[in-house]
Amino acid sequence: MRKIPRMILFYVFSTLIVVIWMIPLMVAFFTAFKTMDEIFMLRNFWSIPKTWTVENFKTAWIEGRMQRYFLNTFFVTSVSVIATLFLSSLSAFAISWYKFKLRTAILIIFVAGMLIPFQMLLIPVYRFSVTTGLYDTLFGVILFHIAFQIGFCTFFLRNFMVTIPVSLFEAAKIDGANAFTIYSKIIMPLVKPAVAALSILEFTWIWNDYLWSLILLQSDTKKTVTIGLTALQGQWISSWNVIAAGALLAAIVPVTIFLIFQRYFIEGLTLGSVKG
C-alpha cells in the first residue's frame, strides 16, 4: 500500500520536470503564431497569441526561402546517410569478421575520430575543398559528412556484427560463399535493425549540422536549413514571429522523425556509447 503515495510523488515530480522542459518550445510556438502588432505591443514571447496567424510560416517558407533550404538539406542528408551506411557497413564487416594486423588500430582510429574537436579539421578541410573545387557545392558537404560519419557508424555496426555467431560465417564459407556474398546475403540482413537505428540517428545529426555548412557553403542557393535560419535572423532582425516560424520549420523534419522512430533513436545512442 505504500506504493501508491510513492507513485504520486514520482508522478508529481515528473510532471513538473516535463512542464518546465516544454516551456522553451511553447515560447517558440506562441511567437510563431503571433502577429507583429501583438509582439510589439505586449513584447511577451510566452503569452498565448490573441489572434493566431499562419502568415509567418508562409513568409518564412517563401520569402525567407526556407523552401529552397529544405530541398538542399533533404538532398544532402539523404545522400550522406545512404552512402555513409553503405561504406561503414563494409568497414564494420572487415573489422568484426577478420583477424588482421591493423584491426584494433583501425577501430581505435575510427572511434577516436568521432570524438575529436571539429576545429582540428576546419582549416585543412576548407582548404581541400577550395583547391579541389568542392567549395560551395552540396557535393562537397556530402563528401565530408560521409567521411566523418564513417567513424561512428563503423564502430556502431561493428558492435552489432560481433554478436552474430561465428558458426554462421564458417558454415557459409564451407559452402563456398565468397566474402562479398557473406556480407550481402548473410550479415547485412541480420544487422537490419541496427542499420535502421543508425540511419535515424545519422539523419537527425546531418540534418541539424551547422558548422560544416557554414564552412563549406557560401551562396544563398546552396544553403542548408540551419544556415538558412541564421540568414533569416539577419534579414528579418526584429520580425521575431517570422524567425520563430522558420525555427519551427527547421525543426519539423528531425522532430517528426524522432517522434516516429524514437525507439531506434534512443537505442542508437545507448548502443553507440555505453555498450562496447
Partner: protein
C-alpha cells in the same frame, strides 16, 4: 590462404580512403599549420612555436579557456546528477511515463541553431519568460539581461546547452539502469535495506560504467562547445562568452590568421585528448570482457 589476408583490406579501401582524406590527414595538417604564420592565401611561413607562445599571453584565449572550464564544470555538475534524477524518476512505470520520456528527449532532435534561437527568447530581458517569472514571484531584483551581461552570459549559454545535454545523460543512465540486477535489488529489500541504502549500495555501484561514460562524454562535449555560443552571442559581448572553438573560428576565418587558429585547435585537441583516451580505455576494457 593468402587471399584471405587481403579480403579485409578490400572491404576497408573505400571507407578508409575517405576517412583519411577528410579526417586523419587534416589532423596532421592542422599540426603543421599551427607552426606557421599563414593568412590562408599567400605563402605559409614557418615560425616554430611562436603561435603557442603568443597564446600564453593572449587574454582572449585565456578567457575562452576559462569559459570552457565553466562549461565542463556546468555539464558535469548539472547534467550528471539531473540526468540521473530524471532517469530514476522516469524509470518508474507510472501511467504515461513513455510520453514523458519523449517530451524530455525532444530537444535532442533539435539543432543547436534552433535551440539557440529559442533560448534567446526565453532569456530575452523584457519579453522573456525567465525575467517575467522572477517578476511575478516578487524577485524582480534578480531579473537580468541574461545574454548581454558579461558576468553571466556564459552561464546562460550553458543553461541552453543543458536543455539538450541532460536528456542525453538521462538516456545513458536509463540504459545503465537496465543492467541493475533485479535479484540484487530484491535481496536488498529482503535484507531490510531502505530505498536510500538501496540507491547507494546497489543501484549506484551498478551504474558506474554508465557514469564513467556519461562523465567523459560530457567533458568531451563541453570542450567542443561551439554552435550555441556562435548562434546566441558570437562569443560576445567583448569575448566574455567565447570558448576555444569560437575563438579559433574567429581567428582563422574572420581575421585570416590560419596559423594562429590552428594553434588554438591544437591546444583544444590536446586538452580533449586525455578524455578521448579515457573513453577509449573504457570501451576497450569492455572488449576484453566479451
Amino acid at each position: 590462404m593468402k587471399k584471405n589476408k587481403l579480403t579485409p583490406y578490400l572491404f576497408l579501401i573505400a571507407p578508409l580512403c575517405m576517412y583519411s582524406i577528410w579526417v586523419i590527414y587534416p589532423i596532421f595538417q592542422t599540426f603543421v599549420v599551427s607552426f606557421t604564420k599563414w593568412d590562408g592565401m599567400t605563402k605559409m611561413r614557418f615560425i616554430g612555436l611562436e603561435n603557442f607562445k603568443r597564446l600564453i599571453n593572449d587574454n582572449y584565449f585565456g578567457l575562452s579557456l576559462l569559459n570552457n572550464i565553466k562549461w565542463m564544470i556546468g555539464f558535469v555538475l548539472l547534467s550528471i546528477p539531473l540526468g540521473l534524477i530524471f532517469a530514476l524518476l522516469m524509470d518508474q512505470k507510472f501511467p504515461g511515463h513513455k510520453i514523458y520520456k519523449s517530451l524530455v528527449y525532444l530537444p535532442m532532435a533539435l539543432s543547436f541553431v534552433v535551440i539557440g534561437q529559442i533560448w534567446s527568447w526565453v532569456l530575452e530581458p523584457t519579453g522573456g519568460i525567465v525575467n517575467a517569472f522572477l517578476k511575478s514571484i516578487g524577485l524582480e531584483q534578480f531579473a537580468k539581461p541574461w545574454l548581454s551581461d558579461p558576468k553571466i552570459v556564459t552561464y546562460s549559454l550553458i543553461a541552453a546547452a543543458l536543455w539538450r545535454q541532460i536528456p542525453y545523460a538521462m538516456i545513458l543512465f536509463l540504459a545503465g539502469l537496465k543492467n541493475v540486477s533485479k535479484e540484487l535489488v530484491e535481496a536488498a529489500i529482503v535484507d531490510g535495506a531502505n530505498s536510500t541504502q538501496r540507491f547507494w549500495y546497489v543501484i549506484l555501484p551498478a551504474l558506474k560504467p554508465a557514469m564513467v561514460i556519461a562523465i567523459t562524454v560530457n567533458i568531451i562535449d563541453s570542450l567542443r562547445a561551439f554552435d550555441v555560443v556562435f548562434v546566441m552571442t558570437r562569443g560576445g559581448p567583448f569575448y566574455s562568452s567565447s570558448v576555444m572553438a569560437n575563438y579559433m573560428y574567429v581567428q582563422a576565418f574572420h581575421n585570416y590568421r590560419m596559423g594562429y587558429g590552428a594553434s588554438i585547435a591544437v591546444v583544444q585537441f590536446g586538452i580533449t585528448l586525455g578524455f578521448i583516451i579515457m573513453y577509449l580505455l573504457n570501451v576497450l576494457k569492455k572488449e576484453e570482457r566479451d
